[in-house]
């Protein structure tokens, strides 16, 4: 069959290769997983089961169930974000759909979209599918991978139309403070950039609450915030996310969503209502456990001489491995059966680093870091 140029020319994800290498072996401890090792809270799962038993299998409103949108809006008050549940919230099929809709609703052909890298791998292809052109803004290890006004200026982002911001960041675990965001916000206001802020890891921060660029002066009206249930509530497979933004942006996104998705899946919406009503304690417990693992992993890597800055969020550490990160990751997998993802997969600035996910049990983390120690010593 003839395949469109658009699909044919989309690059294959660099993750794919490591997935295949890791899958080929059966003794692998994987620190390469980008999702929680917990299951969704049982209360949320039972709410989903209960909804099925009651026959709740029809479409919901395009924007998502009103009861869910109200809770989402109320939940976001904790980040000082205030959105009208009837007009400024759109429930989507995973945060991924929300990101895709934001690009399609905000990007015209030929528009330039600035993306800081290293970052999550889907933005580039999403921008291309929307007809935009990606402008890479490398973040630096020296800044602990926070985005700075200096980096934006150096990359020529002043001429861009849109900025994608992903903090807490996958793959680095970097977070940004209100002060750091103020600088980026000023740059966006000065240069009339709109922002898509992917804040999917907002609930997973350690030692400080999540700060959102949308709460900076003058930024709410130019920012679409994306979030969801996947990471905080360990609901990745239930595919439920949402976008928060000014009415015009949410209306435009919903116009596309009503044709392409109609509504997000119904069953997970019931799970999500329960998650927001009753599962804060379980999220806190997960965060505490991630935090213990984070400290262990960071201290072990630093002991091994693989310099690792202290990541403030998500469930990733980003140690420096020096030199060719792909070769390091391949040899480590070959020699010790430990899978990590080379930093260069996540774009410019990621080379010479490894993404280490600590969404894995303490026991496996210890075994994996012991194996990495043996690998580093024998190298």
């Amino acid at each position: 069959m003839r395949i469109s140029d658009r699909a044919r020319t989309l690059p294959e994800s660099g993750i794919r290769k490591f997935f295949e290498l890791a899958e080929a072996r059966d003794d692998v401890i994987s620190l390469g997983v980008g999702e929680p090792d917990f299951s969704a809270p049982w209360a949320a799962r039972t709410a989903a089961i209960d909804s099925l038993e009651r026959g709740k299998t029809s479409y919901t409103a395009n924007r998502g169930m009103a009861a869910l949108r109200e809770r989402v809006a109320a939940h976001h008050k904790r980040y000082d974000q205030s959105y009208d549940p009837s007009e400024e919230v759109l429930v989507t099929t995973g945060a991924s759909e929300a990101v895709d809709l934001a690009f399609r609703a905000l990007v015209d052909p030929g528009d330039t979209v600035a993306v800081h890298e290293p970052t999550y791998i889907s933005y580039g292809p999403g921008i291309e599918l929307a007809g935009g052109e990606r402008l890479t803004v490398p973040t630096r290890a020296a800044d602990d991978f926070a985005l700075t006004r200096e980096s934006l200026e150096a990359a020529g982002a002043a001429d861009a139309d849109l900025l994608v911001l992903c903090y807490p960041n996958n793959p680095t675990g970097a977070t940004m403070t209100d002060e750091q965001l103020a600088e980026v916000a000023a740059f966006c206001r000065d240069n009339e950039l709109r922002v898509v802020a992917d804040e999917i890891y907002a609930a997973l921060t350690y030692g400080g609450d999540h700060a959102s660029i949308a709460t900076q002066p003058g930024m709410r009206e130019r920012t679409v915030v994306v979030n969801g249930f996947s990471k905080a509530y360990a609901m990745t497979g239930l595919r439920l996310g949402y976008a928060l933004g000014p009415t015009d942006a949410i209306d435009a996104m919903n116009r596309i969503h009503q044709y392409t998705m109609l509504s997000a899946p119904t069953t997970p919406q019931y799970a999500a209502i329960e998650a927001l009503d009753r599962c804060d304690d379980e999220v806190s417990e997960m965060v505490e456990e991630y935090n213990r693992r984070r400290r262990l992993v960071v201290s072990r890597f630093n002991e091994l001489g693989l310099d690792t800055f202290e990541p403030g969020g998500a469930f990733y550490a980003f140690p420096e491995c020096g030199g060719d990160d792909e070769a390091f990751a391949e040899e480590l997998l070959e020699a010790q059966g430990v899978a990590v993802v080379p930093g260069s997969v996540f774009g410019e600035g990621g080379e010479g680093h490894l993404r280490v996910s600590y969404a894995t049990s303490m026991r496996e983390l210890k075994e994996a870091t012991d194996r990495i120690a043996a690998f580093v010593e024998g190298r």
Partner: protein, 162 residues
Amino acid sequence: MDAEREVLDVLARNAREDIDDIAAQTGLDAAAVADAIDALEGDGVVHGYQAVVDWDRVEEGKIRAVVEINVELDRETGYEQVADRIAKFPAVDALHLVSGDYDFAVEVLGENMQDVSEFISEQVAPMPAVTQTVTHYIMETYKDGGIRFEDGDDDDRLSVSP
């Protein structure tokens, strides 16, 4: 959270964590962890460290029963005195004063059902304060010490994902 509480949270999940690993997980230094453990033990917060055992999987394993005990108190005999006498038996694994229909909930560990029955009928029931006992043998344990008893690892996530 203070240091002792952080150390306690780690130990309550896994009492075999060594001091260096606890230090790494909590961000405390090893000496502070050792001090916290000493304080927890000294203050009677931590009374001991035990394995969570699925006795059904042990050959010549043990049987466990939960025994409800009702007592009648008098001027000389309070709950403390009764508890003290019951707790002295090595077969008593756990002893709690509870609210509700009976007074004490006692977990008894024995070699077999007969062993436990004899212990209750010959040692506990005849105690002057004890008015009634009801013994529930545990048939199957699904979860203990916060740990689900099931087979192995069911991690079905993709081994590498974005």
